[in-house]
């Protein structure tokens, strides 16, 4: 047993840390918050050059064929600088869905472009009912001559306004269980009948959209994976994306802890650095425990995902339940220990606090995942 990172992974971490500290500064993040794009072409191409857009894709599709443990390292660093932009939606939602469900032709068409920074993608799953399970899928896809016609509304779709292709989850049939009849469709940008509306969000580093499908017609070749049987594959995609999100959350929480610790050492009150007082020390210790525990469960989940362990689903739900609570608590305590300055727009803490909230509700919050854990342990 070896539950630590390899030298290569440590190297990836230090490379990512250095790159992001230079390229993804607070100034950069704040500028991107103000714009719909959320990323610059220059920055996106640099991510491609680093090989990160194809990190987890097979080499034949222009990727580096690395695993989720490797990705964890990178995601932690991205979370550390609240990296904005469509990396997550492209690489871990749209791209991963294509990788897991696509035919060789579909993969060949999209993945090399994604890896090279020439295409962005997303996954349109959730709807106004705000559910993460199969029962939440009500958008319909009716099969007709030469293709399918999609109708309905998707909500909380990340970066749909930027995506060259959206993987849309739709119902092709009503089955015995909600999982039956769920299908995936590749819907390219500009498809007639598809309207994308960018929504104002609390976490401005994450861009969310409403996607309205009104008699949006796609050809038969747009079907991704098995007609009516896509849910298991989709569940796998969501699980893996969840691991990556947990890692990003750990990175953000660690950064908040670092900032807070540094501040507690230099901020003087009543003649001493505030870190001298137990009221501050004990909160800081609690933060450390939350961060370390979230990391432990996340690393375990990433390892389980790489190994296709039978415990993967359980490990991932444990990690997301824990990380959701931990990041929220840690970022809130970070603000508290900074006092007034922590509440300002000028200080970066609010970026983390807001990212924690956005991440909490992405792929199910702690309550949802605790119930998943209860089911998976046969409670």
């Amino acid at each position: 047993m070896d539950f630590g990172f390899s030298q290569e992974q440590d190297l990836l971490r230090s490379t990512a840390r250095k790159f992001l500290e230079n390229e993804c500064t607070s100034t950069f993040v704040r500028a991107r918050m103000e714009e719909p794009a959320g990323v610059t072409d220059d920055f996106w191409m640099k991510l491609a050059e680093q090989g990160w857009l194809g990190l987890i894709y097979p080499e034949e599709y222009g990727g580096s064929d690395l695993g989720f443990v490797d990705l964890t390292v990178l995601m932690e660093e991205m979370g550390r600088c609240v990296m904005p932009g469509p990396f997550f939606s492209t690489v871990l939602l749209g791209g991963l869905a294509i990788l897991e469900a696509g035919s060789p032709e579909q993969k060949k068409e999209w993945l090399p472009k994604i890896a090279a920074g020439q295409a962005k993608a997303t996954l349109a799953l959730t709807e106004p009912n705000a559910r993460w399970d199969a029962a939440g899928v009500t958008v319909t896809a009716k099969e007709g001559k030469g293709g399918f016609v999609l109708n309905g509304t998707k909500l909380f779709v990340p970066d749909a306004h930027l995506a060259d292709v959206s993987v849309v989850v739709a119902r092709t049939a009503e089955g015995k269980s909600p999982e039956d009849g769920v299908s995936l469709f590749l819907v390219p940008k500009g498809t007639k009948g598809v309207e994308v509306k960018l929504l104002p969000t609390m976490d401005q580093t994450r861009k969310l959209c409403e996607v309205t499908l009104k008699d949006a017609a796609v050809p038969a070749g747009a079907l991704l994976g098995t007609k009516g049987g896509a849910w298991p594959t989709l569940a796998r995609v969501l699980q893996r994306a969840t691991v990556a999100l947990c890692a990003e959350m750990c990175g953000g929480a660690q950064r908040v802890l670092d900032m807070t610790t540094e501040y507690a050492k230099i901020r003087v009150a009543f003649g001493k650095p505030i870190g001298t007082y137990q009221g501050v020390k004990h909160k800081a210790a609690d933060m450390l425990v939350d961060v370390e525990n979230a990391k432990s469960l996340t690393y375990y989940a990433a390892w389980a995902a790489d190994e296709n362990s039978p415990e993967t689903a359980l490990a991932i739900s444990m990690a997301k339940a824990y990380a959701s609570d931990a990041y929220r608590k840690v970022s809130a305590t970070g603000i508290q220990l900074h006092g007034g300055i922590g509440f300002t727009w000028e200080h970066d803490l609010h970026l983390y606090f807001k990212r924690a909230k956005a991440s909490e509700f992405t792929f199910g919050a702690a309550t949802y995942h605790r119930e998943r854990v209860a089911q998976l342990i046969n409670l």
Partner: protein, 397 residues
């Protein structure tokens, strides 16, 4: 990153699993709590540790020459996990195996190393820990028990308190002040004290559970031979704390194990309460949330432990993962015991002796006992100070 076992470790696990199945004493009734050994079970537990020892399942990481197996922390972890799965009885001489033995092996003279460790493993000699005093708990270094040199002997006077196992122990790890002039951390010496020496008086302390599990120990001109000093005169603080890290780790395995046992028992309790009171506890969303969170936290302790072991196996010192472990265990275990009471509902009020008491009232006992967890072995407040100062580098007061 790799969680899989080597073929040798896998064989070790399988052999152990079969052995446990065949050897767990039939008279052992699993008690539904994760507690340290209960008084009435001492005889069974003493025999159980001897059985484990004869089969070679105690002291796995200790050197062979001192009665151990010379194996790694991985085997130790596997043992802890398998004991949890098998709901095996706990190890009685837990302070001997977890603390006294490793400390003697690290600091002892050859003679001391030949004399003590083997009998710790076989449970022939039970050990207790003479650290806390009425005026030295969290601030342990201000302990006042004195040892004054008189020829070849040290003469001990003073008092220890909250001493678990003192009434059944043959030996004590004793910290006493040997230099009044030195700074408080520098004038302490670590003694291996024979509990049968004249002048040692053990007085049971009745605790919150109504039992006498811990004690006061008084020293009245107790003469200890100088060969009983461990690790050098005035070096006791160093001796006492450097092994704490490893102790925390090994005891940590056992604690995680017992937590897992307790959690599974708690889930069984929740199912059984349905028959007792008609209340479908495991169907209540609020209860499912709480049970699931306990499951997550228990698993978290396991994987955090694995991170700490990895550091050890790579030859690094245990980092923040290890120091946070105790604190997390305490909080989780106390929450578990509170939940047991919540699951029992009004039945929680009944003590053993009532025919209506659920499972003979064992949960009431473990619930009360769990209040000590955040005090014994370093209070939660002290653990947080340690984390804040030594891990995060916040300034000392």
């Amino acid at each position: 990153m790799d969680f899989s076992l080597t073929p040798e470790q896998e064989t070790f696990r399988q052999t152990l699993r079969a052995w446990l199945k065949a050897n767990i004493p039939r008279e052992w009734k699993h008690q539904g709590s994760s507690e340290i050994p209960r008084v009435e079970a001492y005889q069974i537990l003493k025999k159980w540790q001897r059985t484990l020892h004869e089969a070679g399942y105690i002291g796995l990481t200790w050197p062979k020459e001192y009665g151990g197996r010379g194996l790694t922390f991985m085997e130790e972890l596997i043992l802890a996990q398998e004991m949890a799965l098998a709901k095996a009885p706990p190890i009685l001489n837990v302070l001997g195996v977890g603390m006294a033995g490793p400390t003697i092996i690290a600091y002892g003279t050859e003679e001391q190393k030949k004399r003590y460790p083997a009998k710790i493993l076989s449970c022939e000699e039970i050990w207790c820990q003479g650290y806390s005093e009425p005026n030295a708990g969290s601030d342990l270094a201000s302990l006042q028990t004195r040892a004054v040199k008189d020829g070849e002997h040290w003469v001990i006077n003073g008092q220890k308190v909250w001493t678990s196992f003192a009434h059944v122990s043959e030996w004590m790890m004793l910290l006493a002040r040997t230099d009044l002039a030195a700074p408080k951390h520098k004038g302490i010496t670590y003694f291996l004290l024979d509990m049968k020496l004249p002048g040692v008086t053990v007085k049971p302390l009745k605790q919150i559970t109504g039992e006498d599990e811990f004690n006061e120990v008084f020293f009245d001109n107790v003469r200890v031979h100088e060969s009983q000093v461990l690790g050098g005169v005035n070096n006791g603080w160093q001796v006492g704390i450097t092994t704490l890290m490893y102790e925390r780790l090994t005891l940590g395995f056992a604690l995680q194990t017992r937590l897992r046992i307790a959690l599974e028992s708690l889930i069984e309790l929740a199912r059984r309460m349905e028959k007792t009171s008609g209340r479908a506890v495991t169907r209540e969303p609020a209860m499912r949330q709480k049970l699931a969170q306990l499951w997550i936290d228990t698993e978290c302790l396991r994987v955090t432990g694995a991170r700490a072991i990895t550091k050890l196996l790579r030859g690094e010192m245990p980092g923040p993962e290890a120091s946070a472990g105790k604190m997390v265990w305490v909080e989780t275990h106390q929450r578990l015991q509170e939940l047991a009471m919540e699951i029992e509902g009004p039945y929680a009020q009944l003590w053993k002796g009532s025919e209506w008491a659920v499972e003979g009232g064992v949960w009431q006992h473990s619930f009360l006992r769990s209040r000590a967890n955040s005090i014994e072995g370093g209070t939660t407040e002290i653990q947080k100070n340690i984390i804040a100062e030594r891990v995060l580098g916040l300034p000392k007061d």
